[in-house]
């Protein structure tokens, strides 16, 4: 087994430094091109015709009026579409591109192409569609019932997904205190500031697709499934997406662009407007947790029991959401979690940053807090008592299906000798929340500021202030959908290019992947460039999702660089270093050197080694390409990232308004590859989490399920000025045994931690728990309900 080297990420030349992100200048000067900015020659414009009903089947389409619009080119209907199901990553979409049935208001029904966007819009309006109205259902509970309108052929409800360990009956018997919950979570919208567009251009029987995407490979897979054409004939060129949070993976409108372009025989661009981005693509699920938890008089958790519903909307097909709170609170010996994925006639729901952690995780945090309050232990100590540290068991191994089975299969296929350096599976390999809570509470002055449960730290007139702490955990990517791969090519001049299809969603992956490769190859960062979107040059990659990029793709990028280095040193040893063992050589600042300068003091430029390669192979090879040569250990079974956040809030008990006064984020993502990039991730997560906690909510029409606040005026996102400008981020770097230079994942644990911290701080300020989002109105109502309860 690999030994846990605590110094793995120390004293490096590139990794660990706050270098500027590679696209900083492009972004600041506005020259970066997103999907909406892109054009190809002679392209025409597509517009999607959307369903006005929550559930309806097309009985007739008449495009004759649309044909009269000057510039009209053609229409795509379900009759033109292969009736194949395609699937987006993590079951974020499963269905046909068009099948003549609308499953929510705004669903894709057909599309027209015209010479200008205006003509396309006009033509789309003039297409007459008759519908047979079908009964619709918007509420998860209703959709589960026998006799409920059926939204999908597979039925409305997925098989329950479960995690169970120990014996809940024993845990219940051991409990001195118990709490119950029934909490409903509204949908959060990705609310992208950048919209998206997709251009599809056919060249013979090959198609080139240009769009903003975090998952270029999955998009190519989706097109392959939808059209039934070979993967080799599909090229995706994914452009930067801007903040995506999971929205721009592979989306049905992209499939429509591909099919419409084929139908009309011209390159087609479909550009979504703001409302389409918010109301027709996807969203975070509505969720509901019911359950109970118990602990001993000493505050040791004895059991968890949860039944959790997630609403998949029309085309989501998920059965699981973040069970990472299960792992994090894993000192507890007995548990049973059930998750049910249910379809409704509302816009598709899918993975948004911190899926499950922000909801189920928040429920667990709240209940844990309620138990801590009953026992009279403060929240920091309660967490330290009950949350896991490195070496502890990960509870998800008891998952009733999927994980254990899939992992066993994966392991079976890896020869024994390649497994010997793996960390122990199903135990946490590094990190934990304890160090975060200790460092954070000291820095925040927790012990001095804490006045007790439900006790404000300050009160004046209608103002109450309170502090809170929250924790979050997440995987660092998963292996179930395929192993993320990367390729590194060293060019004749000694510079290197990384090919890793992770997209660019503003999280800095283009920089940190290149940093890992630069470090491994002994190159300065500006000698390393990266291609993140072209599936013709990049091997398959899961994309930027599930907090996997730094960890799993970073591993692949480093292994690919190692492979390049191995080849480079072998040639150098033979040609320049008297056939020494290549292991005696190393790379340094673009040159090959001997590890012991006393033996060989020459320094050979990479370019000279490459040039030697060319003569060696009679000009057949002039560059070196490298790929990972060993399988990556199944990291879902041991790697986690953790966040702990501390917040102070101010609540006006008369108006219900909440202000965020102070924020401290402490993060354990293993080695920090780039502190600036990671700080941005953490602060961004804390802002997004706070927004979820206090404002963000998609409001749906009760009768039709249509989105009522599909604009940024009434869908309230926190602005920078709504968040403490002096919020701090501290890192605890417990290096990972597998990740590149000890790095782990980062994106999703911090959003969960922030939500829980704000929720608890509000409780401590006003003495009541408020369901999220804690809008002014809900705060006032909760205070009033509590007052009424006491009188």
């Amino acid at each position: 087994m690999a030994k846990h080297d605590k110094n793995i990420g120390k004293g490096l030349k590139v990794v660990g430094h706050g270098l500027h992100v590679k696209d900083a200048v492009e972004k600041v000067t506005g020259t970066i091109r997103y999907g909406v900015d892109y054009e190809v020659q002679n392209m025409v414009h597509g517009r999607i015709i959307r369903c006005p009903h929550p559930h309806a089947r097309i009985t007739r389409i008449d495009a004759s009026k649309a044909e009269d619009v000057p510039g009209f080119i053609g229409i795509l209907t379900h009759d033109d579409v292969p009736q194949n199901d395609w699937e987006a990553a993590w079951f974020n979409y499963r269905g046909k591109v068009l099948d003549g049935v609308g499953r929510f208001v705004g669903d894709d029904m057909a599309a027209v192409a015209a010479t200008t966007p205006e003509a396309a819009e006009k033509a789309a309006e003039l297409v007459e569609i008759d519908y047979e109205l079908l009964p619709a259902v918007f509420c998860m509970e209703e959709a589960r019932k026998d006799g409920a309108p059926q939204i999908r052929d597979e039925g409305n409800e997925r098989d329950p997904y479960g995690v169970a360990w120990g014996d809940v009956a024993v845990g219940k018997a051991a409990a001195d205190h118990t709490v119950d919950c029934d909490i409903f979570y509204e949908s959060q919208q990705y609310a992208p500031l950048g919209r998206n567009a997709c251009i599809a251009e056919w060249m013979g029987d090959r198609v080139n697709v240009i769009t903003s995407s975090q998952t270029p490979s999955e998009l190519r897979d989706g097109i392959h499934e939808a059209l039934g054409i070979p993967l080799s004939k599909i090229r995706v060129q994914a452009l930067p997406s801007g903040s995506s949070f999971g929205q721009w993976w592979s989306n049905n409108f992209m499939m429509i662009a591909v099919l419409l372009a084929r139908k009309v025989g011209k390159a087609v661009k479909i550009e979504l407007d703001n409302e389409e981005c918010m109301a027709t693509v996807k969203r975070r699920h509505q969720e509901r947790t019911r359950g109970s938890m118990g602990c001993t008089a000493e505050g040791e958790l004895t059991y968890f029991e949860f039944d959790h519903l997630i609403d998949n909307g029309g085309y989501g097909f998920k059965d699981d959401v973040g069970f990472f709170c299960v792992d994090m609170w894993g000192k507890n010996g007995h548990g049973d979690y059930q998750i049910h994925g249910i379809n409704t006639n509302m816009v598709t729901a899918g993975c948004m940053r911190g899926v499950g952690d922000c909801t189920l995780g928040a429920s667990v945090e709240r209940m844990a807090d309620q138990l801590a309050e009953k026992v009279g232990i403060d929240p920091v100590r309660f967490r330290i008592k009950n949350q896991i540290v490195a070496g502890d068991e990960l509870r998800m191994q008891h998952s009733r299906h999927n994980i254990k089975g899939a992992v066993d299969e994966y392991i079976k296929n890896v020869p024994e000798h390649l497994r010997k350096d793996w960390p122990e599976l199903f135990k946490l390999s590094a990190g934990g929340t304890r160090a975060l809570l200790e460092l954070g509470s000291e820095h925040f002055g927790w012990d001095q500021r804490w006045k007790g449960w439900a006790t404000p730290t300050h009160s004046d007139g209608s103002i109450r202030r309170g502090i809170g702490v929250g924790t979050g955990a997440h995987v660092c990517g998963v292996e179930f959908e395929g192993a993320s791969n990367a390729m590194v090519r060293m060019n004749p001049d000694g510079s290197a290019k990384v090919h890793a299809a992770v997209g660019r969603q503003g999280a800095g992956a283009e920089t940190t992947q290149a940093m890992v490769v630069a470090e491994e190859l002994g190159l300065p960062l500006d000698q390393v460039a990266i291609e993140t979107g072209d599936t013709d040059s990049c091997p398959w990659n899961h994309g930027s999702l599930a907090s996997s990029t730094m960890y799993r793709t970073g591993w692949a990028s480093r292994e690919a660089a190692r492979d390049v280095k191995r080849q480079l040193l072998a040639i150098a040893a033979k040609e320049f270093f008297d056939n020494v063992d290549p292991d005696e050589l190393d790379v340094d600042d673009g040159e090959v050197v001997h590890r012991d300068p006393a033996k060989h003091n020459q320094r050979i430029r990479f370019a000279d080694v490459l040039s030697e390669l060319r003569s060696e192979t009679l000009g057949q090879t002039s560059s070196i390409t490298g790929s990972p040569r060993v399988p990556m250990p199944p990291s879902t079974t041991f790697a986690r990232q953790f966040g702990a956040q501390f917040a102070e809030v101010e609540v006006d008990v008369e108006t219900g308004q909440i202000k965020l006064l102070d924020f401290l984020c402490v993060q354990d993502s293993g080695t920090v590859v780039n502190p600036q990039v990671l700080k941005n991730q953490i602060i961004g997560a804390a802002i997004c989490g706070s927004g979820f906690a206090i404002y963000e909510e998609m409001i749906f029409d009760q009768e039709t399920g249509a989105l009522e606040n599909g604009n940024l005026l009434d869908y309230k996102l926190l602005r920078c000025a709504d968040f403490p400008h002096d919020a701090e981020v501290l890192f605890v770097e417990d290096p990972d045994p597998v990740g590149p230079f000890g790095a782990r994942g980062a994106g999703e644990s911090p959003i969960a931690a922030g939500i829980a911290a704000v929720a608890q701080a509000v409780h401590n300020a006003i003495g009541v728990w408020v369901d999220m989002p804690m809008t002014p109105e809900r705060v006032v109502a909760a205070i009033k309900a509590e007052r009424d309860r006491h009188t």
Binding site: Q657, Y695, K716, L718, R719, D722, T775, P776, E777, V780
Partner: protein, 277 residues
């Protein structure tokens, strides 16, 4: 031009509301009369008896006028709540008035301050009170062939006026869910001679509350208590006829307009140097 083209012609001031209305097809003018360069309408004048603000004064200009008079300071503080710094350089005071949104931020203050709108037309100018200026959602007393020229805020000759504005918003850039403004004039004898109130986002127009004003007028500044102001605010809030929409429920608006008015009154009294018990 406005007269010539009839209802198809509209004024374009800063264009910040117009752009959105146009995009959402709430308006579809065929002629836009761009008055951005009419510099005669871009002024702030502080006189002994009144403050005059030209219709084309940008919110950013009003924001910077805080040092010139304490009432301008009050208005400047309001503009800081409005839009974004970028939008404030375009958006105008006249546009904010003429757009006549029930949730607009300057309007309740103008009603509370008992301001006058000076309207210019072919037959010269005419004046209406700020209260009468608003006729309905996006509807004002300005006729098709007229424009708003300026807003005049009267200053008392025998005392001092102080005002305040409060609103409920969610994030730093937001439209008020509900708002309230109060302006209190205290004579040299220390007695409150005039109280103006403006209630926003609780009816199609900005409301005032003469009965509530009357309940405070005639009280000596030294005698004003918190309870008294709460009572005045409660009377005023009875005028509200709020609706429920995606931003807030009618019930919340009803409760909050009272809180906003009470706080605005408290601020105004405190600004006078009154000690609240």
């Amino acid at each position: 031009m406005l007269a010539e083209h009839g209802p198809d012609a509209m004024i374009w001031a800063g264009g910040t509301d117009m752009t959105l209305h146009w995009q959402r097809e709430k308006v579809s003018p065929t002629v836009c009369v761009d008055i951005r360069d009419v510099s005669q309408l871009d002024f702030i004048e502080v006189g002994n008896d009144a403050i005059r603000i030209g219709a084309m004064t940008a919110l950013a200009t009003l924001e910077r006028a805080a040092g010139r008079h304490h009432i301008l300071k009050m208005l400047s503080d309001i503009t800081k709540l409005m839009c974004t710094p970028q939008t404030r350089t375009l958006a105008t005071v006249g546009g904010n008035m003429c757009n006549a949104s029930p949730a607009a931020d300057l309007s309740p203050a103008f009603v509370a301050l008992d301001a006058t709108a000076v309207i210019f037309g072919r037959n010269g100018t005419r004046e209406v009170t700020a209260y009468d200026f608003f006729v309905g959602v996006n509807r004002t007393a300005v006729a098709q062939d007229e424009i708003l020229q300026e807003v005049t805020i009267p200053l008392p000759s025998d005392g001092e006026i102080h005002g305040s504005y409060r609103r409920i918003d969610r994030t730093v850039v937001d439209i008020a869910l509900v708002n309230g403004s109060a302006a209190v004039t205290v004579g040299i004898d220390g007695v409150i001679s005039k109280v103006g109130l403006g209630l926003g986002a609780v009816a199609p127009i900005i409301l005032n509350a003469p009965d509530a004003s009357a309940a405070l007028e005639g009280t000596s500044l030294a005698d004003v208590t918190r309870d008294k102001l709460a009572e005045v605010a409660a009377i005023a809030a009875r005028h509200a006829k709020p609706i429920t929409d995606v931003r807030a429920s009618a019930g919340y608006r009803q409760d909050m307009v009272e809180v906003m008015l009470r706080r605005a009154l408290e601020d105004a009294i405190t600004n006078h140097g009154g000690k609240l018990r």
